[in-house]
Every structure is written in structure tokens, then in C-alpha cells.
Symmetry: D2
Subunit: 357 residues, 4 copies
């Protein structure tokens, strides 16, 4: 059991990559919030593949149909369910993979977990495609948060060993976050785009894939949000981040770097900016004791390279119980990082809305 | 609301540093499991301060009294509650801190969160002391896990810039994990101990503190444990880790390093070791698609330096709404990392037991 | 927030009577259980209106489409979502009711609860129609329970003041429960059917409606299922029963009658029937201390008369903030009791499966 | 697993009748609410046995010690835990009951549920004594509710076949509810007290026990509280009521009586009392569609006779797997109804506070 999450806001996700449809139910939304569906579709488009040679050529229509909880352009406050029907499924590409466990994928753990009864086609319920409903839900939550003047944005912090600047190096603003959303490769240093594209395409050419990191921020959140044991802001966000396939690490504020430093380097000293309490630095990424301190929330996630690669790999044949070789054919993403940016923003929006409601 | 966590196993924590007592209730334990209380006390002792000049001289009796759920040496299956009464409280040390918000601590976020009504003495409900009940609960869960041949162990991976070897560099065994538990500074390379002690004492002498990292492993866990969206093994463990004060980062397997690599470097290829499925490498730390693959679970957490330092710091006086200077007196930990090792193990035990029940 | 329920099994419901569609997601089902969809459709048909002059002439297609969690005829173990699209909606019948709060309905409480933004058409999210997804989920759960030799059945115990026999008066058997499912008015004394029909049609003719009671049983459940504080079998079932519109009372075993009796009349004395522990009587309805004792679970729910009646009623106009008169037109159920039978069975199945998983 | 309950307010209960202690943790209380401990003790005293010959002569000190979450006379907003240490335990009275399963008690279901490892002494975790922490928690919640002008009160509606008037027959007021709290047998018709005492003492004399009903009301609650599917006010309250030992039935408003009536008899017609919306009748007990309509909440619970009777009873010896006779010695309550009144109020307070927070 796993497909439901939340406290004050609850989401319930369903669907398999090559089944009839995928979707999500969002419960606990406030009633009467106007939702701009065009904006929602823009968010969906950010995640969709097939935009360039950086991602799989597979097209996903990703057209969510809202079934409930939305009336005359506004949330009703009752469960809002949206469904995306599957299409462009080339199930035959995957059929022969049934018994060959793809390394780095969930095939083998999933086979054991579900006693061989799960829908294996295209990764089934483990597919990255299942993040589409998350992006839908996040897009709705973002609009609710915006009505509270809370904004969420993220950028690609690195692809392989090519690094963008950090949010720490610049002045954060809502405008900047909006601008980042318009780009396929959202970067603070646009000049890095070419290098990153090359890194991705080189991996693709070599039948391989490449990982990266994403930095995310939440602006406009009040102090005093969150809880000590056990639902800190960090616990809430980390829980959701590790629901996103391929995320293997998260750090808040300066994170692992802080483990090398002294307390006097890390403590964020307070001052008054008029009536508003601020800190001179933001090493803790806006969270101390698990609770927001009023500074922007800042965190970074590490994304592993897509496990789907075309190179020959050693694996096992689970039906014949013997070792085997595997070449994954079909269309794959040489890099999933840029497509993961709106997903990271989306689950952040879901988590933050749960905390502030 | 925050003090309760879990699905099949549930824990409910309570207490403030300088209140009457602290404790935890564990619900959902299987009935009839023998619990060796001496072993539990050993775990409590590992976390307790006052053992050497590496930690605060403050003594904490930390003697848990079991009130329920334990009968004739065995778990009953009903809620097991243990209480630790507070003592050695020098509340006056803290009294004057009431209005001066300590940088890096939860004072200010907590003040806002609870409208100024929380017990501020000694960090109150945010105090590291509240991890004592977690260690108690973890010690009970560890024994239940051991009856299923699942073992948990951790070591100090680094203090400041002094690094121990990684679990990746050695052969993992239950015996090694047991041995590590006997040391104040559990290390794979004992020779590093002296350097680390010096790093800590140097920081202490300079009225400062220092951070570090902890590496943790789970041996003997079956494949197929965990869930995709939203309760992956990573989500479950990360949620609990970020409940532990001072944890600011977590990575599973090779974590952030994987973000720099190619898919062909990161994918763990399968083979049969007799009937048992294994992988040649374990870059994913025993988890793919959020579910165990049968290899040891491996992860690392980053711990920030203790925010309590004796240096003069700039802060605000929340009562007078003005800026102020602060010198934190009293007894502090110059480094919390070694004391956090049993806490990290404990919350791992709680999380893993919830998943395998 | 309200649309999600469960512990080991979780359901998430959505939909409004006159929206695009309604449905349910079931999470936590075991994998590999064969589901006979024809049987599911039979259950759906039992609830559907329009079968005779006892219920509304409104037709509801009630054709659930399974979107996920079901592969090659079996459950996958991942969330199973089914959607029923709405049709035959005569929204105009309801439009003028927008501001006139129907007595006995949720119109006014719902208006306040959702600040006037809920979909009021046809009762919206409060509509009896939302029980269709429950019947779907219950039909799936029933089949899982049947694979464990647990059977659920119910009958109309009374309509108005016409009473059927009680399950207490007869020998319970799986065959009997199956036979009851084939009838529009499932009764133990078939001869009562005519009287009950007359009672309903008389109410209908007089532009009124009539209530009744339903008795339900669970056969084949093992002893030792359930929990003391707070998730007793009674708590679990009662929670679900009061989610069903129009249920206003529940009693387990002899229920309220026991409040008039002596302990010596109510205690169920134990004996051995071979190796099996039984009780001579079953006054407690198979549950003592909140936990099953191995005897059949027996309980009764009270259903109020449908609040939709064609008589003139006094009410308020919420827009004009004044008193008004109301005549509810359109097609109504003069009695909902017989249609509620499969709904009561369905939520029982959901609750019992959650407890036995 | 069972000892935790709640959504916005969470309670976690623990303890066995003859163990070290019992208690409860309340999480999610608002911070800064003044709690009058004397009032709390008065509530505890209402439940305590040994006050007269109507209840067991067993004395229970029932002195709760607050360990956390309470600072300078006010709630802190962090988990509030209170512990009651056990005393006056005559464990020997119960020892010989270990293998003889008392009819009507949880002995046998509990033995199976916990594989024989539960603390059987005095009913263990199933003991009515475990309601003491509930009364404590309820007393705290009541004070929080009173600060919102919400009041809860109950009376003995019947003992055996002696009936008090109903709340429906009188004018409800806060003063009345306060007055009822001062009586051992809280009745609307004081003259019935003598008859009820006689009924109880007659049962006692005949080594038997007697049941009854309790009627409860919630005054001052706003309309719009609660949820449709699955957390209706009725679901929430019924869930909690059936956690209280010996409760076997609940009905809201006119409950089962409504099942005999016509819709036109049951619908509560609306009118304006100034700006306030009211209904001419309150057959639905203040709840329609699972949501409050602003009228007083009214419900009735049925309490079975105490299963502990001194008469010879037939039962089984679980160790020797044979049938046996049983005479329960020791001190028992010939009637638990009057002592259950503050318990019913307490769990009502817990449920209502969870809904209104």
C-alpha cells in the first residue's frame, strides 16, 4: 500500500504506464479557489517528453480530464480527480522485457513485491510517466499557494559535471522563478545550456545516459510552518522527493557541506529588517528545528542517470532462473533531469500546501 | 501536530527537555517477542552524554521505565510506553535565553509556531534530548528485527574534513556492526579516531562546534520491501532521518555522486549467487524503484555542527523587538555526530520494522 | 478533507452526482487475486435504480471502467481505480433548488461547509449516487474475502412497521446469503414482500417516503480480528456505515436490547465444538472487546426515509435570506432501504478486508 | 495496532489494568489554552469507582501526572502526555482466571489476537480502567471546546427498563449540562433515581448486572462541521463510541425510530431565527449529510450489562482445551452505565475537537 499521501491535503495516485489510464485525486483543497487550466496545461507541457532531442521521442498526450471537485472554474473543496488516458503505447517494445530484469529499474524489486502480478509493460506503476498526475496536482496546488503569495521554482543545478550557479549566488525573485519555467533547460547561467546539451547528446550517442541535480526554492512562506518530530518541513519534502523515480539524495540549505564546517560558519544570525525577522545568511535553507524561519526554503536533489540505456547489460532471466544479456531497445531519455524539474516543483507544491493549510 | 508517525508500526513521542519527563509509545509491535532490557540500556548508554570530553558534561540519567505493553519479559502486542523522567536540569542556565533567539536553533521558528507558549527551557520539545526515547524505541525494534535476521549498524563517516572509509570499501558483516556499537567513535579505520578527536577538541577550545556525516546499513533485508509512490523505502527512512535534529542531508547508495555519472556506471547488474539474486555493484544502496532489491541498504546522512557555541553571536531579542548579542553559556556538545550514530540507527530500525511487518 | 479511508486497505472516493464522473481508488489489495467482472456488475446492478416502481425511474448506467491495478484478469497489488461517467443527468430539474435548502438533505450544511462553492446539482458530492463506487469497491473486496472463505450478506429487516425475521431466528449459511442477493427485496420471509411493497407504494402515492432497517452478517471470519482502543471491529464498521447517506443508527448483536437486560442474559457462554470454540448464544454479534470471537458478525443499521418528498415543505432561501416554500419535483426514491442493502454489504466488505489483511 | 486515533487532533493511549501505569498522549492541541486542573480532576472523579454501592468497591487513585505539553498553566501545543500509575491491584483475584475465558469479556478474542502474550490480569488492555486516560483527555478537550463556546453533556437515559426523559423533551442549556455533571446518576427526572438504584442493587443482590443507555448532546457547534464520505460527524463519533468497552449501539437524532417513519415526519424544516438558521424539529440530531446543521448534536448509545457477574457460568479452559465452570469473584460493577457517562462525554469531546480544529 502506498498510493496515498498527506495530512491536511491528501493525494491518491493510480495508474500504470501501459494500462488504460493514470490519474490522481486531491482531497482537502480549499473551496472557491479559481484554477486557471491553461496554466495547468503549461506545467504538464514542461514535463512532457518529445520536445527535443534531449528526451525520448515518445509522445505523451498528457491531457488530463477533471472528473470532479471543480465547478464553474473553481475548486469545490471536495475531492478533485483528474485522469489521463494512455496512448502512443508500443507495448511490443516492452513485451520481451517481461522476464529480463532491467538493471537500475524496479523490475526485479517489483516482481518480488507483487509476486509477479504487476503490469510490467513500460515500468508499469513504477514508470516515470506516473509523475504526470503529480505535475497536474502540483499545478493545482501551486495556484492555491500563489493565492497566498507563496511561489515555487527550480532550475537544473548540474548535468554530469557541468554546473549552473546556485540560488545562493543570486537575488531570488518571483519573476526569476517565472522566467525559469519557460525554458526547456532552466538555468541561471544561460551560457551553460550549450555545454549541458552536448553532455546529454554525447551520452545519448554513446548509448548511455547522464544524471544531474536540481535546486528548488520556496519564496514567501511564513515562519512557524512545520513541526518537530515527526513532520518537519524537511521530513515532509524529503518524503515526497523520494517518491519521484530516480531521486537518490536531498540536502536542505548548505546540506552536506555543513557537515564539514564549524557551527560559527553555519548558524544563521538574526536581524530585524523593519518588523520582519531575517537572517544574514541562509545556510539552513529557511528551516531550523524542522520549522520555517521565514527565509526562502532552499534544497537540492540528486537525480541518477536514466537506467534505460541501449548498451548491452548483464542481468537475469527471472522465468528461466538463469543469467542473460539485455539490450534495451525502444525510445529512452538520455537525461531525465530537465524533465524532472517540474516534477520536483510539483511535489514541493503538494508538500508545502499540506503544511500551510 | 507532529508527534506520531507510522503505518503498521506507530510511534508517539512526547516531552520537553526541562519538563517532567519524556517518552514514547510504540504501537503495532508483534506480541511475544522477548526483549533483552540490558541490550536496550546499552543502546541508551551509547547516546547518553557525559562519557568523555567529546560531548557535553551534562549527565542524563536516561533510565526508561516501561509502563505498558511488556509482560513477563515479552512484548504483549499492545502499546508499549516508556517514560524517562528528567533530572540534572539547570533551568537557570537557560532562563535568560528566553527572549534571545539562538541562531541555528529552533527558538525563533518554535516561538512563532507555538505563539510563544512552548516550553523554551533547554530547547523544549526541539531538544536533542528528545532523541533518547527514539533510541529506546529503536532498541526495541532492533531486537524484533534481529529475530528476523535483519541487522542495522552505522559508523561515523566523517567529522569536519576527516574521513573514515565507507561501508562500500569493506566486507559488511553482522559481527562488524556489533563491534562498531561498542565504540564511542565507531570507525572502520580506528587510526582516524585520534584525528577526529583532535578536530572536535580544537573546535571546542575555539568555542565552536563541528559537523560530520554518518553512514548506515541494513543487512539481511529481503527483496520486495517498500512501495512506489508514496512510501518508498527511501521516503520512509528520509522522513524519519529529518526528524532527527541537525540532519540536513541524506543520500542513498552513491547518492549525489550518481548525478555526475553515466547510467552504465550506476546500473547494478544482476546475477545469481546460487538461488539468490544479487547485483555485482550496489550503487543504488539496495533500493531501486523505492523497493529493496535484496542487497544491503546503504545511506549517508549529513549532520550540521551543533548550533550551541560559546562565541558571541548576533541575534534578536523577541520581547524587546530589537537586535542583541548573545553568548550561550552552559555545557554544550562540541560535536553531536558520534552521539547521533545510535539515533540514526534507532530511527532506521523504526522505519525498517514498519516496512517489514 | 474526507474522501480517503483505511489502514491496510485504503479507498479514495471522488465525484459529484452531476459532474463528469465518479469513482474510487482501492489501494492495498493483495496481488494476483482473480476478479470476476461479471460478478462485480451484478453487485452494481443490485444498487442501480430504475428496476421497479419501488425506486426512482432515473436510469443510471453505472458502468465502471477500470483504469489501473488490474492486469490479465487479476489484481496487480497497485492502486485499482474505477471510474463511472455520469449520464442521464437532468440538471435542470435541480437548478432551481440551488438556493432552496431541501429539509433532511445536506444542502444547507454543505453550503456552509464549502462556502457555497460545492456542486449543488443533484446533491453533488452528498448524492446517494456516490455509493455506486462504494458498491464497486465492495464487490472487489467481497471476491478477495471469498477467497478467504469469508462471506457477507444482508437483508431488509424492516420497511416502516413491516418486519422480516432476524438472522437470529434462522440457520445462517453461505447459500442463503447468495440467494438473498438475487432479490430486489431480500427477505427471510418472502411472504412479507407484498406488504412491504404496499407500504412503499402507499408512501409514494402520498408524495412521501418511508425508512427501514437492514441486518447484515459476516460468516467465516476467524476469532482474534480487530483491536481494542481505537480500531475495534465495531468502530471500523460503524465508521463506514455512517459514511452511507441516510444511515442514522447501528447496533451490534442484540444492541440496544441488551441495555434492558441482565448480564446473565447477554453473556455468550463458550463451548468446544470439536476443536472449534463457539458460544451457545451470539448476543454480542460475534464481537467482544472490539475483537471477533469466531461467531458470525451480526449488526443492524437504521435507514431514515428518503428526504426527497414531493409534499410542500417549509424551508429557507439562502440567497435571499428569507423563508420559502419548496416542492421537490423530479424522480425520487420513495424508499431507499432495498437499494441500500448492497451498499451496506459493500462497506462491510471494505471494512472487513481492511481488518483481515 | 490500534492505540492511536485522530486527524487534526491525535490521541495515543497505552496501558493495562494491572501493569505499571496507563496514560494518553494528546497531540495537536492549540497552544496557549489555559487548563484548569481542578476541573480535570472533577471529571476524573466522575468516572472513578468506589463512590457508592452502585459500583465496584475497588478504589482507583486515578491521579494523572502531566509529563509534557503543559507549561505555566497552559497548553504548549506540543504533545501533552499524562500518566496514571496503577495501584490497589489485587492481581491474585485474577490469576486463576488466566485460562478460564470469561463470557462477554475480551479474554478469548484477546488471547487469540495476541497469541496468548497479552497481560490478562484484570482485563489487561481491554479493561474499563483504560477509559480513565480517555476521561483525562476528554477533560482537556472540553476546556478547549468551552473556550469556543461548545459544551458537551450527557445523562443516563435508562437503566434496565427504567427510563429517564429525553433531551428532546426539555429545553437544553449549558447550565443544565453543568448541573448533570454534579450527580452520580445524572437524570432529567430526579425522581427516577430511586427506581434506578433499586434496579441496580437488585441485580447486584442476584449476582447479576444490568445495562442501560446514555443520551449525549453537543451545544454551540457551528453548522458546516464534518465531511461526507468518509469522515462524517456520525462516523467520527461512532468510531470513538465503539472504542468504549460495553457500547453496543449508537443512534443519532431519532435514530432507529426514524426507520419506522415517513420522510415528512423526519425532515427538519428550516427557518430564520433572526440571522440564525434553525430547524423546527431536530430529528436528525443536528447532523444532515454527515455535517452539522447548527442545531444541537444529539445521540444515544446502548451499554450492555457488565459481563463480570458472580453467577456460575459455563466456559472453556483454554490451557486444558476443555469445558469448565466459572465463578468470577472479586469486586465488580453491577452497573457500568453511570460511570460510563463521563467517558461518553470525554470521547465526544475528543471527536468534536478533532472536527472543529
Amino acid at each position: 500500500m502506498s498510493g496515498m499521501w498527506g495530512n491536511k491535503l491528501k493525494v491518491s495516485i493510480f495508474g500504470e504506464s501501459h494500462g488504460v489510464g493514470i490519474g490522481i485525486t486531491i482531497d482537502g483543497l480549499p473551496s472557491g479557489v479559481e484554477i486557471n487550466l491553461e496554466e495547468v496545461m503549461k506545467e504538464m507541457a514542461r514535463r512532457a517528453p518529445g520536445k527535443s532531442n534531449l528526451s525520448t521521442a515518445r509522445k505523451e498526450a498528457d491531457a488530463p480530464e477533471i472528473l470532479s471537485g471543480f465547478f464553474e472554474g473553481k475548486t469545490t473543496g471536495t475531492p478533485l480527480c483528474a485522469v489521463i488516458r494512455n496512448s502512443d503505447m508500443r507495448s511490443k517494445d516492452y513485451g520481451k522485457l517481461k522476464d529480463l530484469m532491467r538493471p537500475g529499474h524496479a523490475d526485479y524489486p517489483g516482481f518480488i513485491r507483487y509476486n509477479g502480478f504487476n503490469d510490467y509493460r513500460g515500468g508499469g506503476s513504477f514508470s516515470g510517466r506516473i509523475t504526470a498526475p503529480l505535475v497536474f496536482a502540483g499545478a493545482v496546488c501551486k495556484q492555491v499557494l500563489e493565492s497566498k503569495r507563496i511561489n515555487i521554482g527550480a532550475h537544473v543545478k548540474s548535468i554530469g559535471d557541468i554546473h549552473d550557479k546556485s540560488f545562493y549566488d543570486i537575488e531570488l525573485s518571483r519573476e526569476l522563478l517565472e522566467e525559469l519555467k519557460t525554458k526547456e533547460l532552466p538555468l541561471l547561467i544561460s551560457e551553460k545550456e550549450e555545454e549541458m546539451r552536448e553532455t546529454i547528446l554525447k551520452a545519448k550517442k554513446e548509448q548511455d545516459s547522464v544524471g544531474g541535480t536540481i535546486e528548488c526554492t520556496v519564496l514567501g512562506i511564513n515562519p512557524g510552518i512545520g513541526n518537530p518530530f515527526f513532520d518537519s518541513v524537511e521530513s515532509t519534502l524529503a518524503h515526497l522527493m523520494f517518491s519521484v523515480p530516480a531521486v537518490k539524495g536531498i540536502e536542505f540549505g548548505k546540506g552536506f557541506e555543513m557537515s564539514k564546517l564549524r557551527g560559527s560558519d553555519c548558524n544563521d544570525e538574526y536581524y530585524y529588517d523593519g518588523n520582519k525577522v531575517k537572517t544574514y545568511t541562509n545556510n539552513n535553507g529557511g528551516i531550523t528545528g524542522g520549522i520555517t524561519n521565514g527565509m526562502p526554503i532552499l534544497f537540492k536533489v540528486g537525480i541518477k542517470p536514466t537506467p534505460s540505456i541501449s548498451k548491452i547489460q548483464r542481468t537475469i532471466d527471472i522465468a528461466e532462473k538463469k543469467e542473460a544479456e539485455l539490450v534495451i531497445e525502444g525510445r529512452h531519455d538520455p537525461c531525465i533531469v530537465q524533465r524532472a524539474v517540474p516534477v520536483i516543483e510539483a511535489v514541493t507544491a503538494i508538500g508545502i500546501l499540506d503544511l500551510v493549510l
